[in-house]
Amino acid sequence: AQSVTQLDSHVSVSEGTPVLLRCNYSSSYSPSLFWYVQHPNKGLQLLLKYTSAATLVKGINGFEAEFKKSETSFHLTKPSAHMSDAAEYFCVVSDNYSSASKIIFGSGTRLSIRP
């Protein structure tokens, strides 16, 4: 069975400081992992994904995430937050060889940026 846990429902950082959004997963098989971002009144947009290639994945807008199998984690980071990063972020897990019904979204982390 698969599951994904986003450890913080809300994270607040100052502009220009690092961002860390935490995600832990559980998967019986080889997982694919994704981070999506949702801005208010906008559709979900893919930030980055891991599908069993390089464990450090770089995405759009300066975000990156590292797949750590030993820790079952896929935390999202960015060195310097920008006001435009304020949004809801979702960690997603799926099995590489399964159907769509096995795609599981986390409950989301709301990122706020202080001026």
């Binding site: 999506y36 559709g43 947009q45 060889y97 769509a100 019904s101 979204f105």
Partner: protein
């Protein structure tokens, strides 16, 4: 190019009424997914299509919910005898193929309010 579009963007209806929500996927994408997102939660899988057929409808909550994709492109999610608990944002996504590794491209959603 054009992304996934959903109409209407907002729908207000009365308890017991019938509603239809439409999704236009990205041209050429064979897989189409419907999700439901309640306030403060991540998207929850409802159903997905591979071409014209519903490959997995295990997420539909009950038989009041039904979806079609007759020509393998546009899809309609139909809800009969709506209940207040059906109020949520309904998201549609498409991908070139179905599978755990594939990126899904999301529409902006339809916000359904049942009074």
């Amino acid at each position: 190019g054009a992304g996934v579009s959903q109409t209407p963007s907002n729908k207000v209806t009365e308890k017991g009424k019938y509603v239809e929500l439409r999704c236009d996927p990205i041209s050429g994408h064979t897989a189409l997914y419907w999700y439901r997102q309640s306030l403060g939660q991540g998207p929850e899988f409802l159903i997905y299509f591979q071409g014209t057929g519903a490959a997995d409808d295990s997420g539909l909550p009950n038989d009041r919910f039904f979806a079609v994709r007759p020509e393998g492109s546009v899809s309609t999610l139909k809800i009969q005898r709506t209940e207040r608990g059906d109020s949520a944002v309904y998201l549609c996504a498409s991908s070139p193929n179905a599978g755990g590794r594939d990126t899904q491209y999301f529409g902006p959603g339809t916000r359904l309010t049942v009074l």
